[in-house]
Amino acid sequence: MSRTNDMTIKLGGEAGQGVESSGAGFLKAMVRGGLYCYGLQDYQSRIRGGHNYYQIRVSSKPLFSWSSDVHVLMAFDDESLYAHPQEIVPGGAIIFDEGLKYDKSRVEAGHTKMMPVPLYKLALEIGGDKVMANTVALGVTSGITGYDFEKMADVIRQNFRRKGEKVIAANLGVAEAGYRYGLDNFAADFEFKLEAIPNAPKRMALHAHQAFCMGALAAGCRFNSAYPMTPGTSVIEWMTAKANKFDVLTKQTEDELSAILMAIGAAQAGMRALTNTSGGGFSLMVEALGLAGMTEIPLVIVDAQRGGPSTGLPTKTEQSDLAFVTSAGHGEFPRAVLAPGSVQEAFEAGWRAFNLAEKYQMPVLVLTDMMLSTSIETLDPEQIDFSKVEIDRGDMVSNAELDALADSWAYKRHAVTESGVSPRALPGHPNSVYITTGDEHSPDGLITEDPATRVAQMEKRMRKMESALATTIKPLLYGPAEADVTVIGWGSTYGAIRQAVDAMNAAGESVNFLHYVDVWPFPVQETEEAFAKMKFSICIEQNFTGQFARLLRAETGLRANAQVLRYDGHPYTEEDAVAFIRRAVAEKDKPHNVIRYQVPVNSGNRQGYAPSNGHSNGAHGSGTSQGQINNNNLNTNSTASLYDLKEEVKA
């Protein structure tokens, strides 16, 4: 394994200690050095205190996921020391303040290099403020890894440019002091190195919500109403930040009902309207969703999933709203559900969602999640390709066409057509005078109970699902066209699975990956074709009941040979994915094998300081050998029923 440009750097501390902003700054410094980074954030549902961490994986190749292995841990409190030592690879380092009091027995330092540093002292002496201790630690990290200090200095200059020269100088000073300290005291004895690439191309480091919003903005979305809810809030906050420059109107509403209702109102006027929330807020949008479906008002809704049910795990990740969003609402109406799995797919979903919504005059749901919406990927700028953004508003009636109508009675908002799409005229034109309603209605939008009209309207609306299938993204096959093992995933598991597949093929195994971006309407035909070629299939998702597997079976009758499920709130690492795939393969004989991720026993207390990976047995470093997964971490259930859990009961 390479010792250069292949490592994970982790920062741990309390909420409010700036763990995330420091991490993000360092990440940028590495991206500017031509390295690919993947940044993962983990925080608790509290504003101060508790335990947060930020984890940056670095590589010279593109990255899509995090890793279980940590090479440098910057611990800003004692909890960070207790929570993460198992993750540190042999030869890895822990940087912490020399004055930090901690319980040595709780830190397994055997193969770890402990690096006490006068973080606060240097911060205070050189920078004049203890809060700069983070920056000292980042400097130390630069020092021990040998990373070009200028890259870091650059980011500091940019980040503080609005705060004036003095602040910049102070920060540069403390960073450099840390750098020197690391270089002088620990660098020689630290084997993992970082090296900037000369003439590095410019790259972007951003998360899926930022990319989604760029896509939405480029697609002409200029109305965004929402009620704050983690992790959905970053959408409206982003749109608000860009509002002045791009003429966007954003509105924080009194609740989620109002958020979707205002978006419906704006959409009816003719705006490309967006609302965003998380599952709990989406629960409150369901009635209005049906209204949009019935009145054929186009609309885009982002549901940024988090651990459920109810308030659940507000700051943890899960993919557990799929079954809900595909069937939310009484009665039946068309909709689409997109589940981007990477930052680039999120960008594309940003503009595609509006085209789908307007072409088929229906609500479009975009499922993201906590992990996706906070994890930073490194992209080449061309991957956010504004030139590819198309604006297709579907069948709209132009002013000229309206002018040509006989009178203000001629236009029929819900005309029955073969595609199911009725040409859409916006209110405001003298010949576009119509009503529409959530009641069943005639083509002219008036309430009706006539069975024939009802049937015609119902069928017309539902035909749009069939029509929409023509423009959704079909499942993407990654890796070799044929393979011994096919992993099936959807949405945000993309990164971990993709990396796992690469690692396994590199290790001589034969694995490919069927990734679903657009999950509804369901691509039945393509799925059947793909299944026909599979030898052994494993469906991996981040929820309890295997919602995607269930959807797949409902639509095609097909099942993967094995299922992997995780619902502890933490995303799969690359190593998790590799281990689960191998485990499933090893247990090939068990019919419909359901493997559930189990948290290592020693992983922390009720307060939630547990690492989410399974490396509790001290086997570190490679993440690629079969024996590595502790049996405690995997729980196998060999029966088909998702609820047949009796065997899984512990203690």
Partner: protein, 308 residues
């Protein structure tokens, strides 16, 4: 189909052709009971539109669900008949998108003051330029006669056989507490008064509530036409009544019983609307502005810089 210029041609409130009562007439037969107060409200609304010289495409109606909320089906006008209790936020979204159109929301008392209470209170705080007409029959008509939030104490119904024991909603007092800028009341059996009040409400810049007393001949046998008739009086007829005087307004807003005040109870003509306070909307309607976006006429590439 064309992907350009789909913004409707809505030249503000300037009139194309002369409107009259016939302009708004439809062949759609109403489903209301004979004698229902909603007929009078429908007629008064049409009258007000004629009075304001507003053509069908210049006004967008929103309604909830209930007998009264069916009203927009019975006139020729642009409308979105939404769901129960939710007309106001939809109307607000529309208004923010296209403030060139007049926006009117029509709800029942159950709809507007009951299930819709949250939206009502917050809309009052926001003050979008929306006229809100509440057909207040003090009962749930369409679901067959349960008590409503405005039913009187002791009102007997299938769900309150021993009489309602909740304090009735006083929409005018609520409006004063929530900062509403225009609060009025009228009566479906006084269509002239009602039409004039609706005209005033629609002329007012900001959220304007018109609480319309409306007999439900089928279910409300307490608050009948006669009951209302014998109680209503007009604040216009009071000597020196000044609806811009908060204290006077507060006193009238409290009044309900043997005497029920009608007319413009409170008006603050100076309070700016929500739209007025959004700098962006001073450049034009959001819909007009978004045409530029539909042409992709923005520097999106620059967005990348902050991530590099």
């Amino acid at each position: 189909m064309t992907d350009t210029a789909i913004r409707p041609d809505s030249s503000g409130l300037t009139l194309m052709t002369k409107v009259d009562m016939k302009t708004f007439q439809t062949t759609e037969k109403s489903t209301w009971c004979a004698g229902c107060g909603d007929f009078g409200i429908l007629a008064s609304i049409k009258q007000a539109l004629v009075g304001l010289n507003l053509a069908p495409h210049q006004v967008m109606f929103f309604s909830g669900i209930g007998c009264g909320s069916k009203l927009p089906h019975y006139m020729h006008v642009s409308a979105l008949n939404t769901i129960h209790g939710r007309a106001l936020p939809v109307a607000t979204g529309f208004k923010l998108a296209n403030h060139n159109m007049k926006v009117v929301a029509i709800t029942g008392d159950g709809d507007g003051y009951g299930i819709g209470m949250g939206h009502l209170a917050h809309t009052m705080r926001r003050n979008p330029d929306i006229t809100h007409i509440v057909e207040n029959n003090q009962v749930y008509g369409l679901t067959k006669g349960q008590y409503s939030p405005t039913s009187g104490h002791g009102y007997i119904s299938t769900t309150s056989p021993e009489g309602s024991i909740e304090v009735s909603v006083n929409p005018l007092a609520l409006g004063m507490a929530m900062g509403a800028s225009f609060l009025a009341r009228s009566f479906s059996s006084d269509p002239k008064h009602l039409a004039s009040i609706i005209m005033k409400a629609m002329t007012h810049k900001g959220y304007a509530l018109v609480d319309v007393l409306q007999p439900c001949v089928t279910y409300n046998h307490v608050n009948t036409n006669e009951w209302y008739k014998s109680r209503v009086y007009k604040v216009e007829d009071l000597p020196n009544y000044d609806p811009t005087n908060r204290q006077m307004a507060y006193e009238r807003a409290q009044e309900w019983g043997d005497r029920i005040p009608m007319g413009v109870i409170y008006a603050d003509p100076d309070r700016p609307t929500y739209e007025d306070q959004v700098p962006l909307l001073q450049k034009g309607t959001l819909l007009e502005l978004s045409e530029k976006a539909m042409r992709k006429d923005y520097d999106y590439e620059s967005l990348k810089n902050e991530y590099m």
